[in-house]
Amino acid sequence: MADVSRPEPAGVPEPRRPPPSPPSGRDAEPDSATAPDLIAAPDTAAPTTPPSPPLLEITDLSAGYGPVRVLHNITLTVPEHGITAVLGANGAGKTTLLRTVSGLIRPASGTVALAGRLLNRRSVEDVARLGVAHVPEGRGVILELTVEENLRLGRRRDTRDRSALSAVYDLFPSLAARRSRPGSTLSGGERQMLAIGRALLAEPRLLMLDEPSLGLAPRVVARLMAVLADLRARTGLTVLLVEQNARSALSVADRVVVLSLGAVAVDGDAAAFASDDRLRHAYLGF
């Protein structure tokens, strides 16, 4: 708790950007797919990128476990096509944020919307079917099933068509050699690749990764991040990347959100954040 390198949000130098909360239009029912300009308006830190409508829009969200409130009035947006990194220390609420988006946790108040459709009251299954692929912390590979069975579960329809599976095997060749081995025999890196590959098979609109680097060797982490960057460039994938490993995440992220004690402390352009020594040092300690 008493992490000297990461002071309380109140006592830190003022973040470069104001919290992304334009005074107008924000409290209305998030039906912003039709009015994208409203949201992208105050963006000054990323001048070159054209304003794309936010895919995920989280408004005034509070959530937690029973009486314990973890997230306090979070407001943030995830633009389509690009990697948004969510950074922060242990207990900052990163995992809770993802679990609330995917419906595993019911928010106490506030809204979550995907391309203008409210997710709050939908079941976990429905959120997944609307295009949110959540790779949970600890990878979520079903250890008792084989690699191929895990992948087949990712597809919306389990057909005999193997082209999609082949694409994943091309992306992660080491999985191809182990396709009929149980998930429990895979290494940590392979499990992460399998979980990501399985999530991609659903052709998600939003891929949410919870600490993919956890417990992996730096070399493996670098490869994973390279794959993410490559996917973003080739397919325009939208990724919400939760990481403790801030350096790795910043190496591929377009935008960065820093959570501190359940609130948004920083929300802005990743490159600008990474080059701002004062901010980076205050929140990430390097």
């Binding site: 995917s102 595993l104 079941s123 976990v124 299954e125 997944a128 079917r129 692929a133 959540h134 949970p136 979520g140 079903i142 250890l143 008792e144 099933l145 069975e149 087949r152 579960l153 990712g154 919306r156 389990d158 429990s184 399985r198 659903a202």
Partner: protein
């Protein structure tokens, strides 16, 4: 030698019945991690429905189909209405709910069909085969029993191993949360698991009814044997359930034939304890420990 053969055949036949009950228990254990103590009562209820139809002059096969159909509905209803509300509570709650359902079914059957035992017809002849002049303790009906249970097991294995639905059912059983994140409707699959289990139980009920007769609490001893068989097989595997059933059936048959018919229950526990000491996870446990 003929004696041994007879004992083995009797053991396999009895074991097939234990196996059928064990299959039903395994189906439910796999999906909801509940030992369904109402399984005997559910099989009793479906068998009473079949008995009613036979009693009113309908054919054996129509009655059997009706029992299976009623079983599907009964199992689905039990999961949806009784087990679902206590799903997130402590495991003991589900066990107590299942016991409550058992009492409910037994009382209800007593009210509808009365407390006395009813005889139930067998599908085929019960006169033993007589190859080469040797009279065997194995009748066409016994063969039907063994074949039915083998067919049920085979269908379940095919379902789980080779169909997309079976893959989803396995995923939902192993990792419900991850499955839901993949868009798999886990709740429906649990209902389906209970429905299938009750249908398998209905098959078991029809198969044993000719020997045990039908009565409100007539299948309770079979549940104990079925549970023993399921535990021997590892509680998780359909093949294990059948192997456990046959093992138990043969062991009891040998004890009855070579030692004494009075120590059957003792022998059942001896088999159970021996297996659990040698293979704590059962004969067919696929994976020793689950990592969380």
């Amino acid at each position: 030698m003929t004696h041994f053969l007879d004992l083995t055949l009797t053991g396999v036949t009895d074991g097939a019945v234990y196996a059928a009950v064990a299959l039903a228990l395994v189906l439910i254990w796999r999906s909801t991690r509940v030992v369904n103590f109402a399984q005997g009562g559910m099989a009793m209820a479906t068998t009473f429905v079949a008995w009613d139809l036979v009693h009113h002059g309908h054919s054996y096969w129509l009655a059997a189909l009706a029992a299976i159909g009623v079983g599907l509905v009964l199992g689905a209803a039990a999961e949806r209405l009784l087990i679902r509300p206590v799903e997130r509570a402590a495991p003991l709650n589900a066990v107590i709910v299942a016991l409550g359902l058992l009492v409910l079914l037994q009382a209800g059957a007593g009210m509808i069909w009365g407390g006395q035992l009813r005889s139930y017809p067998s599908a085929f002849g019960i006169k033993g085969f007589k190859p080469f002049g040797h009279q065997l303790l194995f009748s066409p009906d016994d063969l039907f029993m063994v074949a039915s249970v083998a067919a049920v097991m085979l269908l379940l294995v095919l379902l789980f191993r080779f169909t997309p639905l079976g893959l989803r059912m396995r995923a939902a059983a192993f990792a419900p949360e991850v499955s839901r994140l993949l868009g798999i409707r886990v709740g429906r699959l649990l209902t389906l698991g209970w429905a299938l289990a009750a249908a398998v139980g209905a098959v078991a009920g029809i198969l044993i009814a000719p020997t045990t007769f039908v009565g409100p609490s007539q299948f309770d001893p079979i549940l104990v044997s079925g549970f023993t068989a399921a535990v021997i097989g590892g509680l998780d595997s359909p093949v294990g359930a059948v192997a456990g059933g046959i093992t138990l059936g043969c062991a009891l048959s040998y004890v009855a034939g070579y030692v004494s018919t009075d120590i059957g229950a003792f022998a059942a526990f001896a088999v159970l304890i021996t297996v659990l000491m040698l293979r704590p996870n059962g004969l067919f446990a696929g994976h020793a420990e689950r990592r969380v």
